[in-house]
Symmetry: C3
Subunit: 271 residues, 3 copies
């Protein structure tokens, strides 16, 4: 039998908090194989974590996905476990962070509130639900405890959603905004290269676009790969990590160069 696979994503950073949670998991489910997705997701940033989770889960074995990016710890947000179409289980706060990934893995088929304190640690702190609630429940699920034991079902329609920026085509222009800035300053924007192709009728490396950010604009080529432009030059490209349109800078930071942060609006049209 395959070892249970647990993925683990937080904004806990580089101190011992992730290791503490892994200790809790292995105390309950010694056979678990844990894949730390990242623990330096931007602090308190639900959408950043949602994008990262959405990006990586299609490449993970079916398993239990534990997410603790939880600015509302200790307040009234609900702790939940979800079952999705592909067969995976998700464990985390009901704050929207799980939604895009759950939708990408086939949609939520069952949602339950974490209420069975027998699956928590004996002492539940006010500030570290990752250790005391989420990690132990994830470990019990990985060890084979049935989902229905975690607590009562909750209405799927009543789960907290997450608004994601969308792109629209207005005439010959793509109106979009920044969805996520990676650690190197590459900016995933709403939409896809297919949108750019539609604007032009076709799309190939070297095709030039005008990118407008407020009053500022730049002419930027589309390219299939960073190596197609010189070091220090901007490019529009298909980001394979984040599955969609992005603006990058070969060996540099597009975010710094253009002053882009989450939700900065951009308009893109053929040059």
């Amino acid at each position: 039998m395959t070892r249970p696979h647990i993925t683990f994503l937080t904004d806990f950073g580089n101190d011992t908090a992730p290791a503490t949670c892994r200790g809790v998991i292995w105390s309950i489910c010694p056979e678990a194989r844990i894949n730390d997705l990242t623990h330096t997701s931007r602090q308190f940033a639900i959408r950043d974590a949602a994008v990262l989770l959405w990006s990586t889960l299609p490449y993970q074995p079916i398993g239990v996905h534990l997410v603790v990016v939880d600015p509302g710890v200790g307040t009234h947000r609900r702790p939940v476990a979800l079952r999705v179409g592909r067969g995976d289980l998700f464990v985390g706060p009901d704050n929207g962070v799980l939604r895009p990934a759950a939708d990408r893995l086939g949609g939520i088929e069952e949602a339950r509130l974490l209420e069975n304190r027998a699956l928590f640690r004996d002492d539940v702190s006010d500030t570290f639900h990752g250790r005391d609630i989420f990690a132990p429940v994830a470990a019990h699920l990985a060890a084979g405890v049935p989902l229905e034991e975690v607590g009562p079902t909750v209405d799927i329609a009543g789960l907290v959603g997450l608004e994601m920026p969308a792109a629209t085509v207005d005439g010959d222009e793509l109106s979009t905004s920044v969805l996520f800035v990676d650690q190197f300053g590459n900016c995933r924007v709403a939409g896809s290269s297919a949108d750019l192709a539609r604007l032009r009728g076709s799309l190939q490396t070297g095709d030039r676009f005008e990118v407008r950010i407020g009053e500022h604009f730049e002419e930027v080529p589309w390219a299939s790969t960073f190596g197609a432009v010189k070091a220090g030059e901007l490019l529009l490209y298909d980001d394979a990590d984040y599955a969609g349109l992005a603006i990058g800078c070969n060996q540099g930071s597009a975010a710094e160069r253009l002053g882009l942060v989450n939700d900065t609006p951009l308009r893109i049209r053929p040059a």
Copy 2:
């Protein structure tokens, strides 16, 4: 049988040194499950590492705990292995870093000097005892080598201690100091929320205290969770990671805001 559990804490940082040690461990004990506690403990800071270890070990399965924060590598500090009350083994330098955690896990019951070179790597370097002495000994212990084979016993009373700041209640005031600053700038201080409760007779979210740092003072509420104060506001709280009183700043750094570093003295009294 459960796989042997090895925890591993260093100040080696993000280059390949931790991976080199894991390679040494797995060469000796292929079945070991390694939990990297952190490798970015502040460089050369014995007390920081001691606090992190003390914080996380109660949540770890019983195992072998390998710690290499060793400003004295190549000098006369002694390499040791300890057995504690809970049944765990510790391997590391005798510089105090292991003491608080060992005490928390039931106290030291046996201490031995690492002297059996058959358990070291063949070549022992002057500057990388983590790889050449500590990791291989930890791996041999995890693989079942009895503790007595590592070397002769040493007097437990003669092991290097570690002075930890203490808090005292003076009339209506708690006199304390900073024990540890985490990576987000939250400051664990000596003492506990129970001390604050004693000052007031009771303690609940919203109760206000005057915090004095030298000539500077701030009024700060006690709260059970960060979400109880606005973004950017200070709070006194029970830190669940570090098991005691702390001063934080919701979505900010209390250390930066108040100029706190290890051992900064603070006086706290009801406002």
Copy 3:
């Protein structure tokens, strides 16, 4: 039977890209034990990654070594797999990054182009060959797929090389240059302490050398360990991580102090 050992080194940084690749690996080879060597090798820096790999692999169990530091992704550099004398397999781009480590593990005995798309992911992106080509091929090899199935042999002599700085003794002077700067600012330089010993006839802690960097010079002692010099002082030493001569600063950064970067030339002679 021992679990297959995969080491994994990239410049992907701290987002989810390494975890995505581990997910791909475990989907193909669930039993793999993965040792993440580092994912913060300096971006696009082939030689830095080559030095790190060369440094750590002798301490790793025999296995499959996956390296993705690949500034040429999407261009014409070739993806390859190598078999070396010790029995390990290497998987990565043919850009020189694998060469020094392969030579250290007994030399390349067989080299093959990655051409068998049955061992790739179904969709191969232009910008994430780590996920789509290198990780799945490494996983198949770890799972027991024979090396000859990855693709046709390539001429070993035709593989891309990597020029490494060398040290030369000119009379009473060692002429060398910086090979690698670690994250703490310690600088590995070409050559070895044996070269210094030859300059003097012998070598022991406290022996002083004149280190010239352009017009600037410093008198620096050789020492077997950092603890032999005061905090803030420079030393020449045998770097055990990087197996050769280095210049460091006890509890400080020699690189910052002396303005050293890769390839800075230095001349060292007895003072």
